[in-house]
Assembly symmetry: none
Homo-oligomer: 218 residues x 2
DNA sequence: CTCGGCGCTGTGAACACGCTGAGGATGCCG
DNA sequence: CGGCATCCTCAGCGTGTTCACAGCGCCGAG
C-alpha cells in the first residue's frame, strides 16, 4: 500500500511518515500544494493524507483539481481549524474523510484503514470528449448518444487517446502502450486502426499531425 | 433517498427525522437495536444513521451482524463517547463513518452526503436484474418467476456477474474470484460454465464481449 | 511544377478467440 | 460397489479480428 502525505509542517510530516511506515505502508511526502498535486497525479498511490493549510495551493483546491481531472484517489483531509463549516467544506469539495488537528494517531489509522477498505470510491465512470463517450467498465462507446461497437484493439486505442485529449500522440507511443510491446508491429497498423475508428466514429474526430502522430479533437 | 435512523433517545430521533425530511429524504426511525437490525435487513435503505448506545443490541454489534450477513448499506455511526478508541472500534467493526455527540447538524448532513455520494458497494440481499432473481441466502435463482436449479459453480458465477450488471468482467477476473485462486484453471472453464448458464437461463442473458470478457444484460 | 515521403485504404491470409460435445476424474450417497 | 452429479480438460470447428502488403493520393519542400 502506497500513501502520499502532503503536509508542510516538517515535524508532523516526519512523524506521520515514520508511524505509517512502521505499519507497513510505503510513504512519500510532499511539502507544498503544487508538489502534492503533481505527485498525486502521477504517483499511483492508494490513498492521500492531505493538510488543508499548504503553501502554494490549499488542500481544498488541490482535491477539487484532482477530482476535476478525474483522479479518484481516496483523500483523508487534515485541518487545524475545527469550525464545523470547514468540515462540511472539505467533504463537499471531494475529500472522502476529514480529521481535525489535533488528532490521535489511532484514529488516523482507523480512518485510513476504513478508507482503504472502501477502495477507490468512484471510478473514472466515463471518459467524455465532446459528444463522444467511453465507459471502461461497461466497455461501451457512444457518439452523440448512438452506440458504436468496437473491437478490442479499436477500443484500447480510443481509450488511450481519450485519456490524452488534445495531445499529439506518436505512433511509436501507441505501439508501445496499446499494442503488445513484446511483439514487433509495423507502425502502419496504427494507421489502419485510426482508419477504422474514423470510419466508425466520423472523420472529424482524429486529426493527423503529419510527421508527429495523431490528436483527438477537443 | 431512503434513510434509516436507529436512535433510542426520542427527542433526538424526532429532530433528525424532521431535519432530514426537510432535506428531501424519506426517513424511518427504529428505537431499539433489534428493531434497527430488522429494518436494515429488510428495508432497502440507501443509508443508516446509527447510535452506538442502544437497548437490546449495541450499534457495534448491529453493524457487525449486518456485515456478516453481507449487507453493505452505508452506515454513519453516532456516539456519546468521544474516547479515541471508540472511533477506531466503530470503524473497524464495519461502519463507514463516525460522528461524536454532540454533533452539529451541518456536519451530519455533509458526512451523510459524502457517504451517499460514495455509494457503498451495492450488495442487496436479493439480487435482481431484469426478470432474473438471485437470493444468496436461500441459494435460489428464478427467471421470470420460474425456478432454475444451478450447481454450486454455476451459482457462484452468476452471483458474481449479477453484482456487476452491465459491466464487462474478464475471464481472468472470474477465475480469480469465482474459482479457487490457488488452483490453476484454464480460462476455457469459464466459457464452459457461461455455456451452461446460457442453456439454463436463456441465450440473451450473457453477452460475450470478444477479447474482453462477459457482460450481464441490463 | 516536380518529386519524395508520409499516410490512407482495399484485399486477403493467418490467427486467435470463443463455443460445444465428449469424456475422464472426483466425490457423494444409497 | 454402482449410480449419479459435478467439475473441468480436451480437441475440433466456425467466425471475427488482426495485420502485412502494395498501390495510390496527398502534402510539403525545393
Amino acid at each position: 500500500m502506497r500513501l502520499l502525505v502532503v503536509e508542510d509542517e516538517a515535524r508532523l510530516a516526519a512523524a506521520l511518515q515514520r508511524g505509517l511506515q512502521a505499519e507497513g505502508f510505503a510513504v512519500d511526502v510532499a511539502a507544498t500544494g503544487p508538489a502534492g498535486l503533481d505527485a498525486a497525479r502521477h504517483g499511483g498511490y492508494d490513498a492521500m493524507i492531505l493538510d488543508v493549510m499548504l503553501p502554494g495551493l490549499s488542500g481544498y483546491e488541490l482535491v477539487r483539481r484532482l477530482r476535476a481531472e478525474e483522479h479518484w484517489l481516496p483523500v483523508l483531509m487534515l485541518s487545524a481549524k475545527d469550525g464545523e463549516y470547514d468540515q462540511a467544506d472539505g467533504l463537499d469539495c471531494g475529500a472522502d474523510d476529514y480529521l481535525t488537528k489535533p488528532f490521535s494517531y489511532v484514529v488516523l489509522l482507523a480512518r485510513l484503514r476504513a478508507l482503504l477498505r472502501r477502495g477507490a470510491p468512484q471510478r473514472p465512470a466515463v471518459l467524455a470528449v465532446g459528444d463522444l463517450r467511453l465507459d471502461p467498465a461497461r466497455r461501451r462507446v457512444t457518439r452523440a448518444d448512438a452506440e458504436v461497437t468496437l473491437t478490442a484493439r479499436e477500443f484500447a486505442l480510443l481509450d488511450y487517446l481519450m485519456r490524452r485529449p488534445g495531445q499529439v500522440v506518436s505512433k511509436i507511443e501507441l505501439l508501445d502502450h496499446v499494442w503488445d510491446a513484446s511483439v514487433e508491429t509495423a507502425p502502419n497498423a496504427v494507421e489502419v486502426y485510426v482508419g477504422y475508428l474514423r470510419r466508425k466514429l466520423g472523420r472529424d474526430l482524429l486529426e493527423t499531425v503529419r510527421g508527429a502522430g495523431y490528436r483527438l479533437a477537443t
